[in-house]
């Protein structure tokens, strides 16, 4: 399976076998890291919108493989401020680097960047659309915890309307015959287009507002933050913020093997009193971003 020079833009671009290959390689890289694997390679990190976790995790992944990082995380300090187009920014970045990592609030920006660049482009999030490396690290975490990705009961909780991590993960899990429970207020429900896509693939799903009605069936609970920045109206945001708060009460309504994931940052969706339980794996999940991103960088750079 050759990933050299391949762009990583959308989880839809990957077959089940390709996803499994990335996850298996991540396991190898995590157990036997090679600090010289990407020596003399340069990653351009172009962050057109703020990000802490994804940016730091990519930079750390690159440096731990011996590579270097250039780039920006504040577009106000770049030529974009002077009106430079995305295309021109990418043409400039490709001549300075071996791989480009891009985060943008504009949907489709990463796909366009990949068309502009001769070097491989990795999408680190484009608006409400895709965040494929997040999905791959989510899958890696589930695989590590449950030892399989097949036939799991997966609950998605919170903002299912705007949450790109949820959308991508649901599409990815459709390769593995997951049963999906979409738990949200009606106004933040999973978009119909995604439900239709799952139906076409023969995936069983259920929509529910009350978590406790379905929590006992779940192997995985994927909690998400209600994202303030996606709401045009702050009053609308206030109506839904804090509608689900996971705390110790949850423990009376679950299977012993339940694992709770969250793409982080959290606000108040998960009480810190759950952090020390065996169910909470969200910090482990964030840590898994390193081997998975190392693997992606190594594969596309042919390392």
């Amino acid at each position: 399976m050759d990933f050299k020079n391949r762009d990583i833009i959308s989880i839809r671009d990957f077959s089940k076998d390709e996803i499994l290959h990335i996850l298996e390689t991540s396991k190898k890289i995590e157990s036997k890291p090679d600090p010289e694997l990407l020596k003399n390679k340069i990653m351009a990190s172009l962050f057109f919108e703020p990000s802490t976790r994804t940016r730091m995790s990519f930079e750390s992944a690159m440096r731990r493989l011996g590579g270097n990082v250039i780039g920006f995380d504040d577009p106000n300090t770049t030529s974009l401020k002077k009106g430079e187009t995305l295309w021109d920014t990418i043409k400039m970045a490709e001549s300075y680097s071996d791989v480009i990592v891009i985060r943008s609030p504009i949907e489709g920006a990463s796909r366009l960047a990949a068309e502009a660049a001769k070097v491989p482009v990795i999408n680190a999030g484009d608006g409400a659309n895709q965040h494929p490396t997040q999905t791959l690290l989510d899958l890696y975490t589930i695989l590590k915890e449950k030892k399989t990705l097949e036939n799991l009961n997966v609950g998605f909780l919170g903002d299912l309307k705007y949450g790109r991590a949820v959308h991508s993960l649901a599409i990815a899990l459709s390769h593995f015959n997951a049963r999906m429970f979409f738990i949200s207020p009606k106004a933040l429900k999973m978009p119909d287009s995604y439900l239709e896509e799952l139906e076409q693939k023969g995936i069983w799903y259920r929509e529910e507002e009350d978590l406790f009605k379905v929590s006992r069936e779940l192997d995985i609970l994927y909690a998400t933050r209600i994202q303030k920045e996606r709401f045009p109206d702050p009053l609308e945001y206030k109506k839904y913020a804090g509608v689900y708060r996971l705390d110790r009460k949850l423990l009376d309504h679950i299977k012993p093997g339940l694992r709770i994931l969250h793409p982080l940052p959290r606000v108040d969706e998960i009480h810190p009193e759950l952090d020390d339980t065996k169910h909470a794996v969200y910090f482990e999940q964030a840590k898994n971003g390193i081997p998975v991103r190392q693997t992606i960088l190594a594969l596309v750079l042919g390392g």
């Binding site: 995305l86 489709g108 409400a128």
Partner: protein
């Protein structure tokens, strides 16, 4: 009026677009820019049709359509049939066909799509032809015929 039918005059040279779904007849007129056209144009709407119930029909004198124009018609009226007229005879006829990929004909309905922000050419993958279901190549938004707007 019993037994009499309204006859649309034949054209010597040009194109007849038949079997347009009646509701979309004037949308086809719009996309072909026929309002400013200075040759003969006949538009029939709500004509009887065995297949469609009611259909639209457009005769355009002295004009042949480009591939892009035929693709546009296919998107709006997937059952349409094109007749090419020469010397009052049908020289060629074919059914329109929706391409698998639609290049720079349709606007993306997502205002936050990179094609709208940077004014780059659009591209859509056709998932289903009739009724139309397409996915934006860039922002991956699904769209149907009701959301379609031409570039």
């Amino acid at each position: 009026m019993k037994g009499k039918t309204f006859k649309i005059s034949a054209i010597k040279e040009g194109t007849v677009i038949d079997h347009i779904s009646a509701d979309h007849t004037f949308k086809v007129v719009d996309i072909l820019n026929l309002k400013g056209f200075d040759n003969v144009v006949t538009v029939g709407m709500n004509l009887e049709s065995k297949k469609l119930g009611k259909k639209g029909l457009i005769k355009i004198g002295g004009r042949h359509l480009t591939k892009e124009e035929v693709d546009m018609i296919a998107i709006i009226a997937p059952k349409a049939k094109i007749n090419i007229i020469k010397d009052y005879n049908v020289k060629d006829k074919f059914r329109v066909k929706i391409p698998n990929v639609i290049h720079n004909i349709i606007k993306c309905a997502n205002t936050n799509c990179v094609t709208n922000v940077y004014k780059v050419p659009t591209k859509f993958h056709v998932l289903k032809g009739d009724p139309l279901k397409i996915r934006c190549h860039y922002c991956e938004r699904l769209m149907d015929i009701e959301e379609v707007e031409m570039v």
